[in-house]
Amino acid sequence: MKYAEILHRCFRCGYCKFTLDYENFNCPPYRKYRFDTFAPGGRMWLIRAWLNGEIENSERFQEILYSCATCGNCVEHCAFTFRENLVDIFIAAREELVNGGRIPPSVRDYFKAISIHGNPYNLPAAQRSSWAADLPVQSYDGQEYLLYIGCVGSYDERGRKIAQAVSRNLIRAGISFGILGEREPCDGNEVRVLGEAGLFEYLAENNIALFRQLGVRKIITLDPHAFNAFRKEYPAFGGDFEVLHYSQVLSRLIESGELKPGDFPVRVTFHDACYLGRHGGEYEAPRRILRAIPGVELVEMRQNRENALCCGGGGGNFFTDILGGEGDSPSRIRVRQAVETGAEILVVSCPQCAKMLEDAIKAEGLDDKLVIRDVGELLDASFREN
């Protein structure tokens, strides 16, 4: 297994599962399960035990590996020099399980759906652009930017609304962009983190070839997960594109004066998406947008930026739902943290976070206290309501 030579170096001290100030445990699966086996240190020791033949690949072992949200909190807070490799190690272990053919059924089904239908929803590619039916969004044909929507933005009802709002903002600013519609493939980020390295390689190579064929040089992504795949993984396959998350583009448009948000008086708090923040290093662009909307009062949750608690959707859990469920699932904890700020709106910058947290609000019975809005939606609303 890749990184096997690192496993024994984990001291299982537990710094990895905290926030930086130690106020809270911040590892999503540990918050839910509370067994040390579900913390990064536990996972390190168990992977080593598995490779050494001391434990077997059981359903429990799979649950431990696949409940990891790959959120990167451990990378942020581990005390050791190998911390940069922690998420890669967990992905490598998943690859071993995939190669051995024994993985959770929900993960298997995800791979099959991507392989057969090109999306996890088992829906036809023809529906991929239906979110844009009522919008003057052009098909990509050499425009300056490719707006890459991704599977969640294309098929999920919540994601589609965000895709529409972001597109309206780009149109409003006169940005030259197009979408791929039914030609759009899955970016493969979740395929990779769930451990199907071969399928990811196939997707990445095909996507890069398609983008090149179409002359794509600059990509705006709706989903931070795609942002991560294009920016950090595709270069290994020769895919060198200028990749931006839409919040970065909108933030620049506001700063340059090309977008002038209208009044929108409301108290909000912001949830950092792991693949934009910890993985992408971008914490400020969404906040700059919020601060630029007159009337918006931004109140931070205690756990923000590098210390933000993941919504629990990362690492493929959005699709496999291994980490969801009971009262201490990360998304439910996160909306409780948001309510503590007194904010009326919990703003996100990722369609997966939006869906996870919106479901959590319902599960917690907080519908009368908090709503979820993507930062693109909030910006769009500031125009539409003025």
Binding site: R9, Y15, Y22, T37, L46
Partner: protein, 460 residues
């Protein structure tokens, strides 16, 4: 479903009981070098009532019960020697009460030292507790249970000396309060002026009961904190230096470290002096007094203060000190362990030379750390070795070096700190027979079935 699992599920709920191979593997070992032994069940209780029910179940079924915090002792104290149930206490992590005026806090038995540290920083910036240098995951209860030490140990003694009350589930399942909290809701004293019964539990590693609540004393937190380092190349000067420094009563904490690598530290003993104050004037005055205390050593060229760069200061002032943990990966091997006997401070030179000798003999990388306890009444001297967990030969050499260090410590009058099972046995054999018998009677009286963390303090 296993009958015991069924019973445990009825007490704490399905998600919080496991008899899976994964939990049995992980909870059957700690980061140190003691042999593993798997529990049969791991349980995560959330309330005192749940713990009482589990203890009664264990009593009925004669199943061993091992309470566990973060499992960071390194000496195998929560490895379930006879299987049974490991009680992972960390779901019980509420901070129940802070009495600011009387300066104490009451926490649940699974509260991490990190969480308490953060809570005080946020809500009570004028209060602090004796933060240990163990990782932030270490629990307050486990830390006092092993007579841990922390940043205020130089001033106030062992962290267990700072306990202000206990709530304990006895091996019978009964709930018992120790100290002023036995008479009222005030947790200001663990015993005095009444008989101090905390000794029935502290230092017993859960063999006499499970700490479900702990009160600990809080102390003034000054606005400023700084650190200076005095170095000498001879261990023989260290006891005298420590005597002079502790005489000033100006230091918050005094540690010593000596290590061969990196080379900038080689050959010197670094006496790290922490001090605090509420104003620049107070800091300057304390610093001047501390510096003057060592004038004689400086005049004789026996040592001097070194320049401490900002980076090093930041590392040293960190609480808890994360850098202490990173010693585990010096050999890229993820392990370290130490024999940390409590000895009079005049034994420092002998301990230091013994550590040098053992490191050469067993070809190991080492780190000497000492922490002054209670103004110099004693010190903890850690014979620390880092090892590569994947190198069986190095593991064996480290075990032998630690064993020899422990023998040496005992021979010079030291007491084992958080002793391994072997060290407990050796200590019991060496101690006054009447004392050992008294310990046996206490254990038998409190835990007649021998279900509580069995193996510990046995064999008398």
């Amino acid at each position: 479903m296993d009958r015991i699992v069924q019973a445990l599920v009825e007490i704490v709920g399905t998600p919080y009981v496991s008899d899976s191979a994964e939990e049995r593997y992980f909870y059957g070992r700690d980061p140190g070098l003691m042999p593993a032994h798997a529990p049969d069940y791991v349980v995560l209780p959330r309330s005192v009532e749940e713990i009482q029910a589990i203890v009664r179940l264990a009593g009925r079924e004669k199943i061993a019960l091992v309470p566990m915090g973060a499992g960071m002792s390194l000496s195998g104290l929560v490895i379930p020697q006879r299987g049974g149930i490991v009680l992972d206490m960390k779901r019980m992590d509420r901070i129940l009460k802070v009495n600011e005026a009387a300066r104490y806090v009451v926490v649940e038995g699974g509260t991490s030292t990190g969480k308490l540290h953060a809570h005080l920083n946020r809500y009570y910036p004028r209060l602090r507790f004796s933060t240990p240098d163990s990782p932030a995951a270490a629990t307050v209860a486990a830390n006092v249970m092993i007579h841990g030490q922390g940043r205020l140990t130089q001033q106030q003694g062992f962290n267990s000396d700072m306990v202000s009350g206990l709530e304990v589930v006895l091996p019978s399942g009964e709930l018992c309060r120790i100290g002023s909290c036995a008479l009222s809701d005030d947790w200001f004293s663990k015993g005095p002026p009444l008989p101090d019964l905390s000794g029935l539990f502290l230092g017993w590693f859960g063999a006499t009961g499970i700490l479900t609540k702990v009160g600990i004393k809080l102390y003034p937190r000054k606005k400023m904190r700084d650190v200076e380092i005095f170095i000498t190349d001879s261990p023989d000067f260290v006891p005298g230096i420590l005597y002079e420094l502790t005489h000033t009563e100006m230091a918050e904490d005094i540690n010593i470290f000596a290590q061969p690598l990196p080379l900038i530290f080689s050959g010197n003993h670094h006496i790290v002096i922490y001090f605090t104050g509420d104003s620049a004037e107070e800091m300057e005055l304390k610093k001047r007094i501390l510096f003057h205390a060592l004038d004689g050593f400086i005049r004789n060229k026996d040592g001097g203060f070194m320049t401490v760069g900002e980076g090093m200061k930041k590392t040293l002032l960190d609480m808890p000190q994360r850098s202490a943990t990173t010693f585990a990966d010096v050999t890229k091997g993820g392990g370290f362990e130490y024999s940390g006997p409590i000895v009079p401070i005049d034994r420092y030179p002998g301990c230091s030379r013994k550590l040098d000798e053992l490191a050469v003999k067993y070809d190991l990388k080492y780190h000497a750390t000492a922490r002054i306890i209670d103004k110099g009444h004693a010190m903890m001297f850690a014979f620390s070795f880092t090892f590569n967990r994947a190198d069986e030969d190095m593991l064996n050499r480290t075990r032998m070096a630690l064993s020899e260090a422990s023998e040496y410590a005992l021979s010079i009058g030291g007491l084992f700190w958080k002793p391994t099972l072997d060290e407990q046995r050796i200590a019991l054999e060496k101690m006054d027979p009447q004392t050992a018998r008294l310990m046996k009677r206490i254990k038998e009286e409190l835990d007649p079935q021998g279900i509580m963390n069995p193996g510990n303090w046995e064999g008398i």
